[in-house]
Amino acid sequence: MSQAPKENPTTPGKKDKHEARRDFLKQSSALMALALTPPLVVKAGENDEAIAGLFEKMPVSMHINGKAYQLSVEPRVTLLDLLREQLALTGTKKGCDHGQCGACTVHVDGQRINSCLTLAVMQEGKKITTIEGLSQGDDLHPVQEAFIKHDGFQCGYCTPGQIMSAVACIREGHAGSPEEIREFMSGNICRCGAYDNIVAAIMDVKQGGHNV
């Protein structure tokens, strides 16, 4: 099996649009050729990968946590599943896959989004930050520090999403009071019920005047 794109994740730059279009045209002709091939040949399991590579994948380039990635992914792959299953960035969690829980929150060009509700191929040229990219080496981000200090979690599963959401909440200017924080953090469910502590952590960072 080889579903994971094996491109070197550190390959800098990205394909220009013309190159991408040429790839698409090549794929389209291959698709036509396959459509004309007798079904018996097409269905052969060992051809799956070759067929999928031509039929089903699209090139996409993005920066994740400061690294440039050139990838080839099926259009139906969500950003969340790309991160977790293909790039081994498993800090981002799947809680519902429907944009209802916030466990998969990441930043795309600085905005918090549910990565389960966006397709990987829509991220062309985007800058993505996941929980793995928040700290600077061994130095934790102030929000990460505050979550530890105020115990803003129990099981820790919603925590990456809570923290990405909390950072954005402060940057958006929505952390002015506990009430405002509760409102603007309500897209991130914590079933262990650490809400009180999450609010305290965000207030602490906000009042500490940290640069987030």
């Binding site: 579903q3 800090g91 429907h98 829980c101 200090k149 820790g156 309500s186 469910i189 914590c190």
Partner: protein
């Protein structure tokens, strides 16, 4: 004297892993060559599978297999003769369908997307039979489980003769644990007789034992990894059929297979709190002395297993009442099997009992807090034993002072604040403070660091942190030099994390293995070190990670270095003794709530919560507080929003997602004060710590419904208290 580690507000030892995304939950593992699985689940609620057409799915790109009862490898444990007609759901064993959403096939492919798509291509045909999923419509099928008999103390139904009495029916709907982490498993047959799984479980040893029985493998051929669990609240106390399905799929594939079920399937595949209908009759003298309580409960189970829990037990022992009788029955419905959900049956029962106490107080025109204090049980009325410790009256006082109980009006609907009706309510909770058996090993290294291992689980309360604190006090070694490792089946035996018993059980083993280690160090020193040669090991003092005798002092690390030992390993098993026969041991909680109810819309807003825990020594005030506020949040869901709704025509859940099944979000939760009695229980275990996980939730929902009654004069006996019930 070194500062005690137990009792400190220490940061979690695994906090850094959790805030950086480095903590690895079961689905974060990716063994080489791993395939992905997706389930095909029944769309009928009772009947038989007549055909499975997997041809289209098998032709889809990347699909390795479609496994069902037609081609699943045999499970040796399923073939064993068992006289019990209810043997659980034997997955892919036959064509029988018991409930909607029951897995009928598992599709394996080389990507997640391909597996999910191919699962949609499997066509299943059924022969449908009549189903029943409505508890209220099935009360005539209620039966008593042999092991749970009717209970009688004194005279049956004595409440009927009491000068002041009342009887009422209380209903709770199905509630679903819904931890944030989706359930599932990664299964890998490393050899035809060697199985490794990455599991979401509250007990790696329990999973190992179940798999040993089912697949008839030697214990050491089964490895279970589960170091981080993304919440469970009871749903991971047992292995589920979908996990066996994954293991079967991996067996056929000859490669690791990962199944992560979706949120919809979390409602049908991994248990839930059963729906229950309860009746309470309660009576007292005119001055409020209880004379009789009758409590009966009927809860649902599945067609193929009898799930039981302690719904009516609190009524037997919470109050000093001479006459108590209880009855507990089950009704089989075409649903999957329920499982303990936080607080478990006690939380269901406490809603009824603590509501009934409030109703009786209203009838007596008495403060419900006074009624509780008046009927306080000074000894356990059920077991007729003294309590190992009980500070419930203190807890009542502390909570009442903090919430401002004197603001409460005895007559309902008297307080208004900003156009909202305001009210105060309270309730109590109780749960057995248990202690099981566990083993821990301790590895002292010559650099002075200590590693303790036990096959415990951590679903969030901070087990490793508490164990490090306990070990630090037992050895004098600094917390920073101690590690506690859990969640691996190869570690020494520990029970499941459930029933509020981990600190009591595993903590005792940690304490004892540290004592064993000190004994061993003492033996080493007396045998080899001149300054200690004249002593017996027991005479040596231990201070801050060193052996001390008079002016002689030798660090543990130095001793190992001198003896050229890279490490010293010991193990100890710990369990309760006869003290459990001499004392009644319980943790208690008291919950106070202030609510606002909108007079026009019926919206309930919780303004303030105070929860008080009498749980013995608090090992870590930071994580303990988190556990208590977590119980409050769970309790708010139980009281106000959570209800799994079934379309009875189809026997299918209609709100099986986070958008429609409302668990509390941040804006739903009020500022919460958590208070601890924090007094050591002198009997239960070396730390004096009773349990906390369950009492955090037990009784809570009644505090809210009692406050709503105080605010509005409307008594809601059917949870959740949604606005339609108040207008």
């Amino acid at each position: 004297m070194k500062k005690q580690a137990v009792g400190q507000s220490m940061d979690r030892v695994d906090g850094r892993l959790k805030v950086t995304g480095a903590a690895r939950y079961f689905a974060d593992h990716q063994p080489e060559g791993m395939l992905y699985a997706a389930l095909v689940c029944s769309t009928i609620s009772s009947g038989r599978i007549t055909a499975i057409d997997a041809a289209k799915a098998l032709r889809a790109p990347g699909v390795a297999d479609v496994v069902s009862h037609l081609n699943a490898p045999p499970v040796p444990g399923y073939q064993v003769e068992n006289p019990n007609p209810k043997q659980g759901l034997k997955i892919f064993h036959d064509d029988r369908i018991y409930s909607n959403g029951q897995p009928v096939a598992i599709v394996v492919a080389n990507t997640l997307e391909r597996a999910v798509y191919a699962a949609s291509l499997v066509k299943v045909s059924y022969a449908k039979e009549a189903h029943e999923t409505d508890l209220a419509a099935s009360m005539n099928k209620a039966f008593q489980v042999a092991k749970i008999k009717d209970y009688l103390r004194g005279e049956a139904d004595a409440w009927k003769k009491a000068p002041v009495n009342m009887e009422a029916e209380y209903n709770i709907p199905i509630e679903v644990h819904n931890p944030m982490e989706l359930a599932g498993m990664i299964a890998h047959w490393e050899a035809p007789d060697k199985l490794t799984v990455y599991a979401k479980t509250q007990g790696v040893k329990s999973v190992q034992q179940t798999l040993k029985t089912l697949f008839q493998l030697p214990e050491d051929h089964i490895t279970v990894h589960s170091q981080f669990v993304g919440g469970a609240f009871g749903m991971a106390l047992r292995i589920w059929p979908m996990e066996i399905a994954t293991i079967l799929a991996a067996k056929k594939a000859g490669k690791p297979v990962k199944l992560v079920i979706n949120r919809k399937e979390m409602f049908t595949l991994v248990g839930y709190r059963p729906a229950a209908t309860q009746r309470i009759g309660i009576g007292a003298t005119a001055d409020g002395k209880l004379t009789g309580i009758t409590h009966s409960a009927v809860a649902n189970t599945s067609p193929y297993e009898d799930f039981t829990e302690a719904i009516v037990n609190m009524s037997r022992m919470m109050y000093a009442c001479p006459n108590v009788n209880t009855r507990y029955q089950l009704v089989p419905l075409n649903l999957s099997t329920p499982v303990w959900m936080r607080g478990p049956g006690e939380a269901t029962g406490a809603f009824a009992l603590e509501s009934a106490i409030d109703e009786l107080a209203h009838k007596l025109n008495m403060d419900p807090l006074q009624l509780r204090i008046l009927n306080h049980a000074d000894t356990d009325p059920d077991k007729n034993l003294p309590y190992s410790s009980k500070y419930l009256k203190e807890a009542y006082d502390m909570g009442a002072a903090k919430i401002g109980w004197q603001q409460r009006r005895q007559t309902p609907r008297q307080l208004e604040e900003d156009g909202w009706l305001a009210g105060y309510g309270m309730s109590s909770g109780v749960f057995s403070a248990s202690r099981g058996k566990a083993t821990a090993s301790a590895t002292l290294r010559s650099d002075g660091s200590l590693i303790i291992r036990s096959a415990a689980a951590d679903i969030g309360p901070g087990t490793a942190t508490a164990m490090v604190q306990i070990a630090a006090d037992a050895t004098g070694i600094d917390v920073k030099k101690i590690k506690f490792l859990l969640g691996e089946s190869e570690y020494p035996e520990a029970p499941r994390q459930g029933g509020s018993s981990t600190v009591s059980t595993v903590g005792s083993a940690v304490n004892d293995v540290c004592r064993t280690l000190q004994q061993k160090l003492g033996e080493l020193a007396t045998a080899n070190i001149p300054a200690f040669k004249a002593l017996k090991p027991a005479d040596i003092q231990h201070e801050a990670g060193a052996l001390v005798s008079g002016t002689s002092r030798l660090d543990y690390a130095a001793l190992l270095q001198q003896q050229q030992l890279p490490e010293l390993v010991v193990a100890a098993t710990s369990q309760a003794g006869d003290e459990r026969k001499q004392y009644a041991m319980y943790s208690f909680s008291v919950h106070f709530a202030k609510v606002h109810v909108h007079p026009a819309t019926g919206v309930v807003r919780i303004k303030h919560i105070v929860s008080v825990a009498d749980s013995g020594t608090v090992v870590n005030t930071k994580t303990a507080r988190s556990q208590m506020i977590g119980g409050v949040v769970g309790g708010i869901g139980m009281a106000l929003t959570e209800e799994a709704l079934i379309d009875q025509r189809f026997g299918r859940y209609v709100n099986n997602n986070y958008a429609d099944y409302h668990v509390p979000v941040n804006a739903d939760t009020p500022p919460t004060d958590v208070l601890f009695i924090n007094k050591k229980d002198p009997v239960i275990n070396p730390m004096g710590a009773k349990g906390m996980g369950e009492i955090a939730l037990i009784g809570f929902a009644a505090a809210i419904s009692n406050a709503v009654f105080n605010a509005t004069g409307k008594r809601v006996r059917d949870l959740p208290i949604t606005p339609d019930k108040l207008i």
